[in-house]
Amino acid sequence: MTQHDLLEVRDLYKYFPIHQSILDMLRRKPPNYVKAVDGVSFSLARGEVLAIVGESGCGKTTIARTLIGLEEQTDGEILFQGECVGAQERRLRAGLAPLESAGTVGTREHLALPRIALKRLRQQAQMIFQDPYESLNPRSTIFEIVAEPLVVHGLSRSRGERAARVKKALEDAGLRPAEDFSMRYPHELSGGQRQRVVIAGAMVLQPELLIADEPVSMLDVSIRAEILNLLNDLRRQSGVSIVFITHDLGTVGFFADRLAVMYLGRIVESGPVKEVVANPSHPYTKALLSVVPVPNPRLRRERVILQGETPNAADVPNGCRFHPRCPVVMEKCKETDPEYKTVGDGHQAACWLI
């Protein structure tokens, strides 16, 4: 077990079929897909923090939802502690051949999920959502919210034990003393406190993996710092691995170990944060880094502002998917998709210029 990475994702695909009109069906038009995640592979070691960065619509949230089991992947493997969870495993168990060509990707499959494997994954992997105002049930008390994972998984059945675990989780999340909070409702707390409750609810099961989907983007600057510090502390204390999803490169440098930059459903560059920040290889990463606001007017610099917006994921350009917006585009880019090339130690990028 130990030689495995905690999480390994191989060739993950998630296509959402686009609703067809009856006319289209009659014309036998081939179904169209939104290719939210289009072949993504990465791995996460124990205790590591991986940041997935990209603009909205690049598929980063879909990855999070797929990892946690809120969506089923169209194809690809998710290995948690060396064991498969998800569609591929189900296909194998059902005696079906693995999906290969993109043509078959997206066929509807609703084979019964191996509930136990998924439930175990959910116990060991927890998610923190973006909006602390939305992710708490307004009619539950803080105690009920934090205790919910224990109830769902039938853990700590005795009242005293459950109360103790909730208290510890709340206090670890910086809500001290826990008694002051447990009988309150979410609307009585501030945004920062709500996000702490979300974190307490995620940590109460002592998971190995935490998936944080933009955990601070809805918060005020001063509170943002508190929550980032809290996540950093939790990670040091409990050794939890974190997949940190954000559009804000600024927060990434703060505590991620590795960085994966996504564009239109695919990772275009990945590597250790320091390495990628100091030595970005992909033109998209360069542009993203250049527009991160720096809180000092003396450090205003030349910015690479990409024109236009991320294309629709239903209509991915041919060749390198970044070429229509790339400032250094070549003829070759329009025809063939570049492969990953190693730039440095653990640092990879997919661009013809490397």
Partner: protein
Amino acid sequence: MNERWILFKRNVTDFWRTFRRNKLGLIGAVLVLSAVLVAVFAPAFSPYKPTDVIRDENGRGLTFAPPSVHGPLGTDDAGRDVWTQLVYGARISIMVGFLAGFIAMFIGSLFGITAGYYGGSVDTLLMRITDILLVIPDLPLMLVLVATMRQMDLHISPLIVLVIVIGLLYWTSTARLIRSQVLTIKERQFVARARAIGAGHAHIIRKHILPQIMPLIVANTVLILSTAILVESGLAFLGLGDPTQPSWGTMLNFAFDRSAITNGAWWFYLPPGFAIVWVTLGCVLLGNVLEEMLNPRLTEHHLEGEQHMVSLPDAQSLSGSGSEAVS
């Protein structure tokens, strides 16, 4: 247990505090409660039985006696006391209305939640059934149903027949309303969070969906009650009530049949009419106010916080819990 009790008490006091401020709601509650009290303690409000015939000193039945002769509301064509009939009729009207209303609410909630939560083909199927029921004209359908059920010789009281028919036909609007609410709640993040935790459907419906729509169900039940009472009165007026247990509708039916109107016996037909208006108006007022109050509160957003501060000074957000945790 103790903490739960405190929490419950706090919720109730909070509710009462907001409710108290609303004049219309209070009026509605008084109207409905007074009618229910009269129905429950009917014998205390009248010395007679509804079947008792009032006789004058000669032993002859007092027919169509105006209120000035026999108080407070005179007598009907058979010399029975109208006030007594009205008081006992409240029992029947309110009971039929409430039972039918609750049945409708139950079916409506069940359909609404199931359709909204599971979606897909379940949703389509349930909603098509709802649509079909919605487009068939109610009154003829009910007449046919009541008549058929009576014909079938089921040996059930005509009142129960009324309850079943009204209950089975008036859930459609509720189902649609609740379905649309569930559809929005289902997409909210705390439901996604519950799913991410690993919660099953039953848990999510019980812990996350139901508490959110409960207020809506409560408010809607009160509104449905008024409809049920009205419909019951209508059917009873058409002669489909139980003549041995007269409701307000049946009273109207009698009044109409026995030419109370041509006789100018206004004390016979006006009181039941007023009684029906009394209860339905109460239900509507109360229901509207409850709906307004209990509607899922708009969640405030951090970037809107300021505007909230400006435009809707909410007592809770401004002066509520002051103590802040310092990390």
